[in-house]
Point group: C2
Chain length 745, copies 2
């Protein structure tokens, strides 16, 4: 099975990583051997200049090499860590300035090493991140300037660099998988461990999973109760479900900030990593910093961004057309057609879908990638956000359109539309060249269709997904390995077998395995979860058990994602992140849309309002729209309220941050105050100020007597000398007024 690597004993090569930071997989196309050789020298020189130690070994295929890379000196690491922490501080990511790492001489360094280690240890993730940045940063920033062929578009100096990847920590992975497979729920410590190894970006995904899983408990329990007591299409279930999705969404928004603060990465998204592929039009001087920046016309970019509209339309037409077509054929065959080969023809739409859907999706994803490349963003994050947007549109259509069709076209308008399906009949007749009409049965709307479809998407599809995600790649790898073995056995006659030194043979074998794994892309996992959330938010009113199914699925999903990272993918580069990024907007959108669809579904299908047998004439359009309008505004109001309440709650992370900032402020203020007191003996205290008043008045009077006759302004303030005289005069005035009063009486 998938986790088999860790099921038995440690394989001999996985005990140690031999201090390797990164492995560079270098592929030499035999017809370009000379170029590859020249480029290889440059590669090693660049790495060495940037401060890396290198070793080269054969890869599995004779035409590729593995370059092992390691930060040569601890001093370089420490200085880079310090630099990165200072940058964090300057960008406001961390509140306190980092303690400088002493680098004056070896002894001092060793002395304070333990202390520094105690105060703020360099985690493995931090080390790997900094090493990766050093490998990929441009040379003028002190890096080696190496990019993989894929991210450079297959061109340029480094087109032979297939991948740059860190090695798995197999001891950790083994413990991780063993632990997770035996415990019911994930704890903060588990997420923390992931963060230390795989960085905040991956940790955020698991934190989201954990949060989502524990939030799912409520709709699962409530859904079960609703399924038993309220049945389908209950408005009460819809209301509670919407409320839940609002609470979940707002809670996650806060949780995200809280985590970012606790992990010390809040605002990390402001520190942008430039995309090496970015092509600038001209250089100009930044009005703020005075530095020279590379500029690409925002209008050109906007023009290209507008291509998203035709892209969405194309998705709609291609995927939508496929879905509608298959839908129509399916209905015709299963519910109208009654002729020969029915038992075979039933599979036709499924076959069409399984054939064309992945093809079209792959093509459109490629198109989305191309479009995003064309938009030419300066930074990784902007690029990724734009790509995620397109992917979301794609997945929205493939995932939800079938159900939308059933709920809002097939059921209400079926009676009008189904007669048009005769077109199939006519086509079929043409081919059979038979005069008599094909046998059909009287058509009726199938009331269970919607429920069946929802169950399919929320149960069957999840299982299929699991299989393709975890089992497939494993099986594929097994097969490939066997094929390769056979191939290499065949080619053994021409090439000598790879000879490794016996003490590193196992290790190299293992690295060769890892080199062939795919890169881990957290986007795919997020997408799966967000689309799943969509089913719950949009359609769970059709089948309240949805959340139960997801609860079970997600328990497995978290574990299978762990297995995927540990065994089916290369170890991810531990990037930092301060949120789940563009998926947050997608979640918010689905949560909002859920209020509309739930209201519409309840209205259309609940008991008396038309029901599955109703025809569009029976549906009161204004009432439907009114209920949608009402539901949406209720949703927006509830969202405002929930947001207000959740903002008032203090999260531990924010409290910690506040406390830190307060401490800093207090310290500074105390320093100021001390100086204040030491320099000025008489502050605005109760006792001292009186003296000031008198002293300054006397001084003023002295000046006045020198200058001769005073101005009226000065005379005005000298009428009552000091507070006591003012009191005296005031008293007499008050007494006078009181006297007048008694006299008047």
């Amino acid at each position: 099975m998938a986790g088999s690597r860790y099921s038995g004993k440690d394989s001999p090569g996985s005990k140690s990583n031999y201090d390797v930071d990164y492995v560079i997989h270098y592929v030499i196309p035999p017809e370009e051997a000379a170029e590859a050789e020249a480029s290889f020298s440059q590669l090693i020189t660049a790495l060495s200049s940037a401060g890396f130690a290198t070793e080269v070994r054969r890869a599995r295929k004779p035409s590729s090499l593995l370059v092992f890379v390691r930060l040569a000196s601890d001093r370089l690491l420490r200085s880079q860590v310090y630099r990165s922490r200072v940058q964090d501080w300057l960008y406001g990511v961390r509140a306190a300035a980092p303690a400088p790492v002493p680098t004056s001489d070896e002894a001092a360094q060793r002395d304070s090493e333990d202390k520094e280690e105690e105060e703020e240890p360099v985690t493995e993730a931090e080390r790997l991140r900094i090493a990766y940045l050093l490998i990929t940063q441009p040379r003028n920033e002190g890096g080696a300037g190496i990019v993989t062929a894929q991210s450079a578009g297959g061109h340029g100096q480094w087109r032979f660099v297939k991948s740059i990847f860190p090695l798995h920590d197999h001891a950790f992975n083994r413990e991780w998988l063993t632990q997770w497979s035996t415990k019911y729920s994930l704890e903060d410590a588990d997420i923390e461990a992931i963060r230390g190894r795989f960085g905040e970006r991956v940790a955020f995904y698991f934190a989201f999973m954990q949060s989502y899983f524990s939030f799912l408990l409520f709709p699962a329990a409530f859904g079960l109760a609703a399924w038993m007591m309220l049945g389908k299409f209950s408005w009460f279930y819809a209301l509670v479900n919407c409320l839940w999705s609002v609470v979940f969404f707002e809670h996650w928004k806060m949780k995200e900030v809280d985590l970012a603060v606790r992990w010390g990465v809040r605002g990390v998204s402001r520190i942008q990593h430039p995309r090496p592929q970015f092509q600038f039009e001209r250089e100009s001087v930044d009005p703020v910093t005075g530095e020279i920046v590379k500029v690409y016309s925002p209008f050109k970019r906007l023009a290209r961004q507008l291509l998203q509209v035709p892209f969405a339309a194309a998705c709609m037409v291609v995927l939508g057309g496929l879905i509608v077509g298959c839908f129509a054929i399916e209905i015709f065959i299963t519910e109208v057609y009654n002729g020969p080969f029915k038992q075979y023809l039933t599979f036709l739409p499924t076959i069409l879908l399984t054939l064309f859907m992945p093809t079209f999706t792959t093509l459109l994803t490629k198109l989305a990638e191309r479009l995003t490349d064309m938009e030419n963003y300066e930074t990784h994050d902007a690029h990724q956000a734009s790509f995620v947007q397109k992917i979301f549109v794609l997945n929205f259509i493939t995932s939800y359109m079938g159900i939308f069709l059933t709920a809002f076209v097939y059921v209400p308008f079926g009676k009008i539309l189904v007669p048009y399906l005769d077109v199939f009949q006519l086509t079929a007749q043409k081919f059979t060249a038979d005069a008599k009409p094909l046998p059909t049965k009287r058509w009726e709307i199938n009331p269970d269709r919607l429920t069946k479809q929802v169950i399919y998407f929320t149960v069957t599809a999840q299982v299929v997904n699991f299989a393709t995600e975890v089992i497939m790649p494993h099986a594929k790898r097994k097969v490939f390995k066997t094929v390769e073995k056979v191939q290499s056995e065949l080619s053994e006659k021409t090439a000598e077998p790879v000879k490794d030194s016996p003490e590193e043979a196992d290790f190299l074998e293992r690295v060769r395995d890892e080199a062939e794994l795919e890169e881990y892309d957290v986007t795919i996992d997020y997408r799966e979860m967000v689309i799943q959330f969509g089913y719950l938010s949009l359609f769970s009113v059709v089948w309240p058990l949805t959340a139960c199914s997801f609860l079970v699925n997600n328990w497995i999903e978290a574990r299978s994602d762990a297995v995927k990272i540990a065994t089916n993918c290369q170890r991810p580069i531990p990037w930092r992140a301060d949120s789940i990024g563009p998926w947050l907007d997608a979640l918010g959108f689905l949560s909002w849309l859920g209020s509309l669809t739930s209201a519409a579904l309840v209205f259309l299908f609940h008991g008396s309002n038309g029901g599955p047998d109703g025809s569009p004439a029976d549906i009161r359009g204004w009432a439907l729209l009114l209920s949608i309008l009402f539901a949406e505004h209720l949703y927006l109001v509830v969202q405002l309220v929930v947001r207000g309440v959740i903002r008032k709650l203090d999260s531990p992370g924010l409290q910690k941050e506040k406390a830190e900032r307060f401490a800093m402020r207090k310290q500074l203020l105390e320093k100021m105050m001390e100086r204040d007191i030491s320099e000025e003996t008489s502050g605005p205290g109760v006792s001292g100020a009186e003296k000031i008043t008198k002293a300054s008045l006397e001084e003023e009077a002295r000046k006045l007597s020198v200058a001769g006759e005073g101005r009226p302004e000065q005379l005005f303030w000298l009428r009552q000398r000091g507070a006591s005289e003012t009191i005296q005069v005031g008293r007499s005035l008050i007494a006078e007024a009181a006297g007048n009063y008694t006299k008047a009486k």
Copy 2:
């Protein structure tokens, strides 16, 4: 006229303010003379302890005093200014730490005075704000702890302090009014001048006015064109108007931030002034700061906040009932009734409205104040925001409900509802005791009613408003003054006349005038503008000339508000602010609601869709709802887009802030780098790192030889010594692969 004070020559008392910072108006109820006397001594002592010089004089009424207050020493002012600026810095309001004001000895102070003055002058507004804080802050914070009777609820030690106000700067006021009355449009410098005198809170109002005024130019021009070419209820006008309101709203949100940054007050709302009236339930330790804080149960507060719902309902019932009642009577009398006294009875609803509306509004405002007090907020801002919310509900009903009734009840449902107005007829018949029915005419919906009403609210009501705001108080004061004169002449027999020293008599007379003016409340002016914006956003599709009327009105309004501040009100205490506060939400709400009402109005009244003569049966409910739904979502999408675009634009203020922060960062980073370079000679540069690599490798090898046989990890990294060996080995491997390839061929 209103500005008459500045129309002739300076009155003799207004030339100078005699260095007075604040005047405290102290009122002695004759029956409490003893308590007032004791309290007066305490007042003067407290002021004197806080560092103020004091003088006392008679007020106009013999039973009240004027206490003149002045910061006694320049040193105190400077130390307080410095303290306040340090606080700003610590709260992140200002980027750079303030230069400390030298206070060591008199000479040093004088030396650097000019320098400091140059760098960051203390504006009059700053001086007055700090003096006011010193008067009102609690004693343990170094202030005098004095609160006015009104804000203390008429209780406590200081219940005789009627008001604390600064004196007008008449030279400035005169120039201000003269300038503004002669120029067409306000410039940034004008706003800046106001900011220096009256503080940011007032300046923000005028900045908003200025921004709103210049934005009005577009809908005024477009409205005129639409009125001539498109007529009423044009969907195109509605669309453009909505778009305009979105752009205006989003633009102002950015402008607000920009101004706050330029004025150095961004984030000032975080520095909260505690409300003296706040009553705490218990004291607890703040988990963040470790300080003791006063706590009021948030649940209790929430329970009291929920009273807003019955409050809104009460407003709805009372004011709504009044409006509906008068509306019904009016329709009955003008459009149905045809009997005797018709010419007199026509005025009945107007009379009822003018009698009861202000009474009810005043009562409900009092209730709103009471409710807000009950909610017991810790800070002024929270209190004010909650009060503004209630006031907005109140004004929303009084301002818009009449038009809503006409548009969405009278016109569509008139034919159904008007027959019920017979109840008036029956009542009338009972009183007349006449058997024969009163003469009525056949009723028809008056199609011009809606337009007339909108014109009334957008033209007539604005003029009336102007009159009540500026002319009325002036006239009232004149009358009161005459009455008082007569009274005092009558009472002259009992009390001696007030005798002032001749050199300060004019000045005192002027201060006595100012003491009787009202406090300026910027909330009222904001309310007026926000409600006006509402008419434009909600109903201008009925009468596209609305914006033209507002354009004229607002030109006058800005000037009349200046006149109001300068002559009809006490000089406002120059508070700081970083936005227009709670009114921003109100603006956003009205802008959003505008998309709904405009769509509904266009649908109901535009040409073929029913028209003014239509009955509800003709209106297709679903189409109405669909158009509203569509308009709203179009609005929300447009808002998102506009927000996105506007965020990309850099405002001058934000650019300035960014440049400052960048400069600070750069400076710090350079310092760090310098240390880096000086301490570590070989950075990760191109030339130096190679040495490190070799050196460390050699060292490692040495260690290894000492320790005997190396571990496989160590051996692994020693196979290729340095980059050159790696390159060599790599080359041979590549050559081998290429060889295999050619052999295989």
